[in-house]
Symmetry: D2
Subunit: 359 residues, 4 copies
């Protein structure tokens, strides 16, 4: 089945996000986060980051129910759109081709319902717009400069890894345990830690979309501004330093609850023998290098995705062990030093990782 | 009683901290935090920050039990030591004068057991040492440049405010509620937000000692280093942005559990009519501007203090309402927007401020 | 003469700057630098920094000729305005008292023509306005948070030092040579490196007014924005690290050529025995710690000042050696390592400090 | 001739630098800049950056004369070493193959004398070493995290562009004038602004090697440290913001005069239709976005390179117009605003760009 050549994917390019109140979402993405409007009308807003030169990184689309319309990737050549179509047809997936693009600014594209149930899109043709990198008079203190990655929730992570590797992605980091369970995996096309990650859970769902800033203080400035606007409850988790990816991060929730990460300073991964980093699920520095416990909602909440007809894709339950239960749930544990276990932590710290077990 | 002239206090100057394992404490304060050793022997270590020119900002003293030996302030003239002695004698407090100083590097000093039960010291004479401000070859990524403030736990904050104002301090910010309860107050001599703060709770206890860095990234670097050393469990709270003081902060616990804050970027308060900022205890941005809940240990834990004979001062219980109970306890609540209440917060956020109620 | 008690000065408070094109100046100070307009009309604009709570830090006043109207200091009490008046009368200086203030927002004030020829003002009464410290939604990437200091050009620096010490200032740093010449001195009331400095040259003239940012990247952001606006020729010197003061700096020129410094991270100087730092005029790290040569215009250009009738104060020539000539002029030299001299510098570097000699 | 398939080059990987005093160079690269020693002996030191996982990014080699031994690139597969060898043989270039590598840590490699006279190397096999990205206890304030690019001096830039495009590089930015002269061009394999750049001048020479930091303050910290060590004369140019590449930069000179750039925050260039940015040679923000004049030595000085026998490659003179002469030389000019010319600059600024004409 994998004899069919995978398309040559450049990078994650944009996400179509269905929102229930376009004005509220515009306020969040434009007024608070400072994304730039490429164009907009009463039903859609096209947004891009400061260093982007393609038409958009997000399409906000008004709809009756919050959901994700598509995860879109750019490919290297026009022919790679054909290759993508053939690749998914060969997998028996439903595909749709639109020579004029499904959204503004994008030309010939194929959309598919992938083997994990996600709506994926591939395109090459795209309108160029001004790269605002040098336009410092337009920068806010928390300027978002680049779309960095997607993150998807899927019940069977090893299956997802296999599929994505066939599609040409490489795994850079993963969270596993010594019983052979995989909790999450990060995979890339462009030479950063990821273009998308697969997080174990009931899926298909969208965990988050992530934008990069230049420096860490830019991320702190977003928090400060949210406080000033009395919108600090949009902050779900962080800011902090990831173990996985070594990046500095912040997780926000948009007015519909869609999760947006702000992210900076991971590392170059472009060599074919780039060392894969595997983290123990019980290492409490894996998701936050400073050991800050992950809030339970970060594990449990995610956005539903739509099929190509615009209907919610039904969820499949994860049957493997859950990271939440393994680490902060009733039977779980986590450690700061692997040779000492949780008991070695200071007394005032020991309860902290169990706080989720009341959920 | 207050006819006696208060001494002219310059600033908080140093703290004497009794630790149970001098080698472990040295590793924490010197190897991890990068404080500079002015001198040391088998029983004591004298430490200072990069921009300090007086002999020390901390004396670590080996002892059988973790505790605080003294909170020491520098006064403007030698005569102010006399004034301090007279001030406390007039209050009926026990005082001890030592012309040669109670510790190395410090000359004529008076130590007192103050009306709140704290061991306070006042001195003018001190050895000058090299101010390392320009010695960038010695800076670590998380360099501590200045002693910023103390923070004390005392059961009756209004009583403490009154006493400290008599001593010449000015209140800059406070946390109160509409029933007239005061939960905490910040007070200063040097024109920053505080030289010390009074936090409501069973006291007298030492809540924390705080050092300043130049920038926020220096504080993040300390967290990153603790992660790398697999010592992230020394991080108790933060990093974050305070509401009170507007400073960026981090709270650590030393090997004995003494709390150390790292702090940067509060504001100038030196005008006599500097506006006092009062925060509502139910405002969940008061202690963290980003709305991150305060971990319960931060409210409950603090260091015992010693009397002038070296014995633990007995605790007096707080009878006023507790900030922990009012905000994250069984009956408490907190809000992001005062006109909306907790119910307005996103659903996934509502439980978060109650997590402490299982304690 | 100095038996008269000096007024208790709190800090430098504001400067009245006469500009020839109010719209152009507004664009520079408000649109580019982000200072906040407290109030304005067709002839005047009142500006303040983000953390200020008094009415203004700058008054821009429309006039026929670019000049400085006044250097204004805030004193501790209303009575200190009387003290200031008496102090200068005793010195035989011309004074003017205005119970209603000379500008909006300020009450009872005295203006004087001081012994060096500068127009100085002292006031206590002032309107309070909102301190915008927490209003992060209003911060730009290069936000100016505090007025830090003035800098004045005067021919006889030792004379100026003596007068300012009588007025209650303390010298914190100075540039001298081994022949006894003083080139510049820094002096403070608030416990930073300075509220004003005296720079040797033909005077009285205003060298610069300086605002503080929180961090160094804020200063870099101002440069980036000026580049984006194609206004980079407003940058005269820097950014760089000062030797004197240890602060990070940038010098701009406003549309009339008035010099504005942006400055961050000097150190606490509030102790009475704060060590004075004396720099050798030949040390090429004194004005820039990285050894970047000072551009000649920075030495030669400065703004004329007005007397109390609004006329330009005549210049008195400096007769002592000039720092420009001593260090980058025909006979001057400077060194990186005092024991080696200029010859020890790499060949490609040796000419650099002489570039000014063609002027 | 170009029918021969170019090797698939991943990235610039390391440079072999011949130094005359190994101890002095070690002090500069290791003690001052903080590069990590992978291994060393009396004749060679192998150095890498914090995020590198291959054996080294620099080989310092003791020699009688300062020069550059090789510019080395990593290719995607072992077969690409064969491809590189064939590619250069087809060009008629001298090549040498060594199955065991020419230096430690590297396997099968080919070295060539390329059409521009530069010693180039291509390899795939390399020893993996620990990626120190998470080892924050080892970071200095100015930590170098990644080798970013090389920069080469060559007389005929268009010829160099053509050759490098045949080799598979893409131009991202260039400096040209309206008469058709090319002054410099930037070209990349990995998706940053460059893996190497071609600067017009007498060549072949090595202009600089560049390492990346995470943030801008890291670069400032290197300057501060050089000041503290009284080594500020190692700073040749900057820090500043480039126009070309939009990166923040600093140029140092090592003890032999080899130029090292410290660099951070350019942008993603990985799309095949990435917009090429062309700068006018008279735009004085092209090389420094803040308009700071380039020091003449930066244009004139560069390191000689060796042929495969270890002899200096003779220089070929540039005959096209020189950027130095065009912009700061006798007949040159530069502008801040293209529609206004130099005359529009403030008077105090106009002479500044001519300072080089005395050379």
């Amino acid at each position: 089945m994998t004899e069919v050549q995978a398309p040559d994917i450049l990078r994650c390019a944009y996400m179509e996000i269905v929102v229930t109140d376009l004005a509220k979402s515009r306020e969040f993405y434009v007024d608070v986060l400072g994304l730039v409007v490429t164009e907009e009308d009463d039903n859609e807003i096209y947004l891009r980051s400061m260093e982007e030169f393609i038409h958009h990184n997000i399409v906000l689309k008004k709809g009756p129910e919050a959901a994700i319309g598509v995860f879109s990737y750019r490919v290297r050549t026009p022919e790679d759109v054909d290759a993508a179509e053939a690749f998914y047809k060969n997998l028996g997936c439903r595909t749709e081709r639109n020579k004029d693009g499904f959204v503004k600014g994008i030309g010939d594209s194929v959309r598919v319902e992938d083997p994990l149930g996600f709506p994926y899109e591939f395109f090459y043709e795209v309108d160029h717009v001004e790269r605002l990198a040098w336009r410092y008079e337009l920068y806010s203190p928390g300027a978002l400069v680049r779309l960095d990655h997607f993150n998807q929730v899927t019940p069977d992570v090893p299956k997802a890894e296999k599929y994505m590797e066939d599609l040409g992605f490489r795994v850079t980091e993963a969270i596993r345990d010594d019983k052979g369970t995989t909790y999450a995996a990060w995979m890339r096309r462009k030479p950063t830690v990821h273009d998308t990650a697969m997080t174990g859970g009931d899926g298909p769902r969208m965990h988050h979309i992530a934008f990069a800033t230049h420096e860490k203080h830019n991320i702190l400035a977003i928090c400060d501004k949210l406080g000033a606007l009395r919108r600090s409850d949009a902050i779900e988790r962080g800011p902090g330093r990831h173990g996985v990816s070594n990046a500095f991060y912040l997780y926000l929730r948009d007015p519909d609850g869609h999760r947006v990460e702000i992210y900076t300073q991971d590392y170059y991964t472009g060599d074919p023998d780039n060392p894969v980093v595997v983290w123990d699920v019980h290492d409490n520095q894996r998701r936050d290098w400073w050991g800050t416990p992950v809030v339970p909602s970060w594990y449990t909440d995610a956005s539903r995705v739509l099929d190509l007809d615009g209907n919610l894709v039904p969820l499949v339950e994860r049957t493997d062990a859950s990271e939440l239960e393994e680490t902060i749930g009733a039977d779980g544990f986590s450690y700061t030093r692997s040779d000492e276990g949780e008991e070695s932590m200071p007394e005032w710290k020991q309860g902290e990782y169990k706080l989720g077990n009341q959920l």
